[in-house]
């Protein structure tokens, strides 16, 4: 059959960042995927070499608007690894609380987008409504809904007072009920089962071969979680477990993220309840020559920062690797054999920091071109959901096409 190239990207207003996919399709089936990145390359690694050790956290916080805790967390761990210093217990617990709040709001953001993609706008509205609770807790505890600027090498910048801790505990408790309702509604919905199960499968072997990270690998049964595997200060004394699923499809990734939200709620509660009195900063004076690695489990997977110091007040080299860098190439296996209607969903299923397309141009070998806009892509996806509803003969309560 004739092979056609469908370019996807690089701009799409629905998601955050630009990225370009070339889908080699035969009919409706995707046979090969080529991913091009780099549209948003900002040279942060090079820029970091001209910032002082104290300024770098502000810089790395701006790598991603959603993982604005994970990057400073990993960077601070890297500097602390270089120094071999231990940070105070209170600072460790506050780090856990802020980082886990971020995980919930990131997972709920993803859930809403995935819901919108398949035409479940109720899921979208609900997920983002409950995400608002988390953002309000963030604002109360750290002073901002995002970009908290809480982290510094050696500890944290601002302490929690008793009133803030109580507020956090009350509000997070408030979230459990709606989150349970949302999870049950999604996991019980027959159409969501049909729509998400068995598509975009990443096998255990491929997850290992591509070194996939975070929920992407855990949905394929690879139990890698840096919070557990790196003996991270703070997490080791708390009671929580790593969520894994076996199937590796989009549904498994959804389940992992939903269940992880509950683990995060539990971690936040434990962190706030066990909050000990004491200093919040180890007061690092200078950074000697040496090297250190910091690893932290961001919502999307392991973030790794490597720093090398030559004894000056700036890093000699600062390497940053975000999880999407390892997760994106898995499309080369997970998208193959799927239809174009599913590709938008599969690419969204790894929760990439990416932006797919303002329009899709379908160019066949004769040079005929058909432009598919963003709405057309979503329409394709929604049509497939509607077909399933028709086959099922019953409209599920969660389903709502209207925004």
């Amino acid at each position: 059959m004739k092979r056609t190239i469908v370019p996807l990207g690089p701009y799409h207003p629905l998601l955050e960042e630009p990225e370009h996919f070339k889908l080699y399709v035969e009919g409706e089936r995707v046979m090969e995927v080529d991913v091009e990145i780099g549209y948003n390359h900002r040279g942060i690694e090079k820029l970091s070499e001209s910032k002082t050790w104290d300024q770098v956290p502000y810089l790395v916080e701006r790598i991603c608007g959603i993982c604005s805790t994970s990057h400073p967390f990993a960077y601070c761990l890297a500097v602390e690894d270089l120094l071999g210093c231990k940070i105070p217990e209170r600072a460790e617990l506050i780090r856990v609380v802020v980082a886990e709040l971020e995980r919930i709001h990131s997972h709920l953001l993803w859930l809403g987008l995935a819901g919108h993609f398949i035409g479940y706008n109720t899921v979208w509205m609900w997920a983002w409504k409950y995400r608002e609770t988390i953002l309000e807790i963030c604002e109360k505890l750290t002073g901002n809904r995002n970009h908290y600027a809480m982290f510094k090498p050696g500890g944290i910048r601002r302490d929690f007072n008793d009133e803030q801790i109580e507020y956090g505990l009350n509000r997070i408790e408030e979230l459990v009920k709606p989150l349970t309702m949302l999870t049950n509604a999604i996991l019980d919905d027959p159409v969501i089962h049909k729509r998400l199960k068995g598509i975009g499968i990443l096998s255990y072997e491929d997850a290992v071969l591509y070194s996939a990270l975070g929920p992407t690998s855990r949905a394929s049964g690879v139990p890698w979680d840096t919070r557990w595997d790196e003996p991270l200060a703070g997490f080791k004394d708390l009671d929580w477990k790593v969520i894994t699923q076996e199937n590796g499809d989009v549904f498994a990734k959804t389940v992992v993220r939903l269940l992880e939200c509950f683990e995060s709620v539990s971690l936040i509660k434990q962190g706030l309840e066990k909050m000990v009195e004491g200093p919040i900063d180890a007061r690092i004076k200078e950074v000697p020559p040496g090297e250190g690695c910091g690893r932290y489990e961001a919502p999307r997977g392991e973030v790794i920062h490597y720093v090398r110091s030559d004894g000056s007040n700036m890093p000699y080299r600062h390497k940053i690797r975000a999880p999407t860098f390892n997760n994106l190439p898995t499309f080369k296996v997970s998208c193959v054999g799927e239809t174009i209607a599913d590709v938008a969903l599969i690419t969204a299923s790894i929760d990439p920091c990416y932006c797919c397309t303002e329009r899709v141009g379908v160019v066949d070998e004769c040079g005929n071109e058909k432009i598919l806009r963003e709405d057309d892509l979503i329409r394709l996806s929604v049509e497939k959901t509607e077909q399933i509803i028709k086959d099922l003969g019953k409209v599920p309560t969660l389903y709502s096409k209207e925004i």
């Binding site: 690089p10 370009h20 091009e36 990145i37 780099g38 390359h41 040279g43 690694e45 090079k46 690894d81 071999g84 290992v208 071969l209 591509y210 070194s211 139990p223 890698w224 840096t226 595997d229 790196e230 003996p231 040496g290 090297e291 690695c293 690893r295 392991e302 790794i304 490597y306 090398r308 000699y316 080299r317 390497k319 690797r321 860098f325 390892n326 994106l328 190439p329 080369k332």
Partner: protein, 159 residues
């Protein structure tokens, strides 16, 4: 925890130039560039490590590459270092056998000018296609003034 050290020494003893364990959960190995493929394949396939990423660094006398491997169940990060001397830093590609290495080798190639012998698809990853060839932004001698507007070859820009 000490078993990772002894495992590595037993399996790779003859390839290791230097081994250090500055922290409980960090191991740094130094190996020769020609031993890299065998060491990495041992760590990835036989020792079941996750490949986290690779760091390239301009060390004036050459490019140092550090491959970071995580052995999650042993809670250990194993870093494999090697130095590729100037003027032609070059090393065997791992990306042709293990897809996890594909992108990071492309990044090291464009940012630091490391040649990966046998890499199947050495296109630019992060830099624009129009960026002038032979300029490597992460090298220490790179200055912003090295690249001017007229050096860009806009004919090459992909879209």
């Amino acid at each position: 925890m000490g078993s990772v050290m002894s495992d590595l020494k037993n399996a790779l003893g003859k390839n290791i130039l230097d081994i250090a364990r500055p922290r409980d959960n960090r191991i740094y190995l130094k190996v020769k560039p020609e031993d890299i493929p065998s060491v990495i394949k041992y760590l990835f396939f036989d020792y079941k490590c996750k490949f986290s990423t690779a760091t390239g660094m301009d060390m004036r006398e050459g490019i140092e590459i550090i491959y970071h491997f995580a052995r999650e169940d042993k809670k250990m990060l194993i870093n494999v270092k090697t130095l590729l001397p100037y003027p032609h830093p070059s090393i065997e590609s791992i990306g042709k056998d293990i897809p996890a290495f594909d992108w990071i080798e492309r990044e090291l190639n464009e940012m630091l000018g490391v040649e990966f012998r046998g890499h199947p698809d050495m296109r630019r990853l992060l830099l624009a296609d129009s960026f002038p060839p032979g300029k490597y932004p992460l090298r220490k001698d790179f200055q912003n003034s090295d690249v001017n507007d007229e050096d860009y070859d806009y004919e090459k820009s992909g879209l």
